[in-house]
């Protein structure tokens, strides 16, 4: 959103109150990431250990494998560490 498009003091609800619940899904936090988890679909067994461990719920179940939502994944690497078959590799962003 450009500066001009953003709501100003007159149109924002008072006190920084969020009047609509669930708005955090609109706040894309994936751009904090320095390392990107990449799933090797050939290795992935669909055991879902990464799905359980992901602290941001950024991994979704899509049998037979998992997919990562990069709009919210912050690249912490827990999934890669916990994967029992080493199917997730952390790749440097922009590399």
């Amino acid at each position: 959103m450009s500066e001009k498009e953003k709501p100003g003091s007159k149109s924002l609800p008072i006190g920084g109150i969020l009047v609509k619940p669930g708005s955090s899904t609109e706040y894309k936090t994936g751009d904090w990431r320095a390392f990107r988890p990449c799933v090797d679909e050939k290795k992935c067994t669909g055991c879902l250990i990464c799905w359980i461990y992901c602290p941001d719920s950024a991994i979704s179940r899509k049998p037979p494998v998992v997919t990562i939502n990069y709009e919210f994944c912050k690249g912490c690497g827990i999934c890669s560490t916990e994967c029992p078959v080493k199917a997730i590799t952390m790749m440097e962003e922009g590399a």
């Binding site: 953003k6 709501p7 100003g8 003091s9 924002l12 609800p13 008072i14 006190g15 920084g16 109150i17 969020l18 009047v19 609509k20 619940p21 708005s23």
Partner: protein, 392 residues
């Protein structure tokens, strides 16, 4: 019918809060405020009110609980003094920024060290930029009246800002006076239950206090300022309505004898009463003196003050606080700023007085009036800032 009852300033405030049908009070006792929350706890224990009384372990928790209660749409009251207000400091900003219309009585007391329980304004003045509306009361009657009016100002949908009702520790808080008490029904009619614009409600969830970075923080602060600009008119409007049922009228400032005055004293709180008595005596002796009492300190009533001092040759501004290292006391600094653009303005002297509860006697005030008259006749300021009665 209104009745007159003997009450201390603290008792009068507790009684007013009771009549205002407060939903939640969270407080921690501290001298000289303690009587307020003690009296109120009596009302709760006796079943005279339905208020939820939250006993907390500190003032930091007290103000935090008040913020939480206020966001649910409750009418919230608390009281504190001195170190207690200082401990609340960070939450004061949260209360005003989250637009919680909390009413708090601040019984002004000196800050430590040395430890002291008596009156000066260093507690409130230390938090004067916390975004709260701030009113200073001269006596117990004003404290009672102001408490009732204040809920109406704070909770107005155009305002939604917290308010401190300030009264001088011991001088007003512990002084027994005849207080005109309104019948409960009159207060109920004057002050209907709070209607919250936004509130925490499980059936209609909202988020209060979310993170807000560079892209929105400034706009949220601008909203607060916008609300502050509407406060003066609201204070006058509510005072007018209150005046209709009580016959007692209040302005943003109150003046005495300015019509034919060449010099005046300006101050906050109980000193105004003493100054008026002295001014009356001097006027009878033919001296052209007057008094300006500032009731509303935040937002600062610049326009009213500019109008009031027009035609004065000299003005002495009394500050009951030492703002160490500042060019002058807070009241004096703000008045000078308000007058900056004026071409004609009085010669202004600042007197710091009464720290730690040191008495401001009629004799002191008479000397200040005479010194101010001398400044006016010489046309030159002798000492721009002075400390009253300090031994060297």
């Amino acid at each position: 019918m209104a009745k007159v009852t003997g009450m201390t300033g603290d008792h009068a405030i507790a009684y007013a809060a009771k009549q205002c049908d407060v939903d939640v009070i969270a407080a921690y006792p501290i001298t000289p405020q303690t009587i307020i929350v003690e009296r109120f706890s009596d009302y709760v224990a006796n079943g005279e009110v339905k208020t939820e009384y939250v006993c907390v372990e500190s003032e930091h928790s007290a103000m935090s609980a008040c913020v939480g209660a206020s966001t649910t749409g409750a009418r919230v009251f608390t009281a504190t003094s001195s170190q207690g207000l200082a401990l609340m400091h960070e939450i004061l900003y949260i209360a005003s920024s989250l637009r919680c219309p909390i009413v708090m009585a601040v019984v002004n007391r000196a800050l430590s060290a040395p430890i002291n329980i008596h009156c000066d304004h260093s507690d409130m003045m230390g938090s004067r930029d916390c975004g709260w509306i701030q009113l200073y009361c001269e006596n117990g009657q004003e404290a009672y009246d102001q408490t009732i009016q204040t809920f109406k100002i704070a909770e107005d949908p155009d305002i939604l800002l917290p308010v401190t009702v300030n009264l001088d520790g011991f001088i007003t808080s512990h002084c027994m006076e005849g207080i005109n008490i309104l019948p409960d029904e009159d207060v109920k009619t004057f002050l209907p239950p709070r209607k919250a614009v936004y509130k925490l409600d499980p059936t209609n969830p909202i988020t209060i206090g979310a993170l807000c970075f560079t892209d929105y923080y400034f706009e949220i602060k601008a909203q607060q300022e916008e609300a502050m600009t509407k406060v003066s008119a609201k204070v006058k409007e509510v005072a007018e309505e209150f005046g209709k049922i009580t016959g007692r009228s209040y302005g943003l400032i109150e003046t005495f004898g300015l019509e034919d005055a060449e010099v005046a004293i300006m101050c906050l709180g109980s000193t105004a009463g003493t100054a008026r008595v002295v001014a009356e005596k001097l006027k009878k002796a033919g001296k052209p003196v007057g008094v300006i009492k500032v009731r509303l300190f935040r937002p600062f009533p610049s326009r009213e003050i500019v109008e009031a001092v027009k035609g004065l040759k000299a003005l002495t501004i009394l500050d009951r606080v030492a703002t160490s290292g500042a060019p002058s006391g807070p009241l004096c600094s703000d008045v000078k700023t308000a007058l900056y653009a004026e071409t004609e303005k009085p010669l202004i002297t600042n007197v710091i007085y009464g720290l730690g509860g040191r008495d401001m006697s009629p004799l002191n005030l008479e000397k200040i009036f005479n010194d101010t008259l001398k400044t006016a006749s010489v046309g030159k300021i002798d000492r721009p800032i002075g400390y009253l009665g300090v031994r060297e």
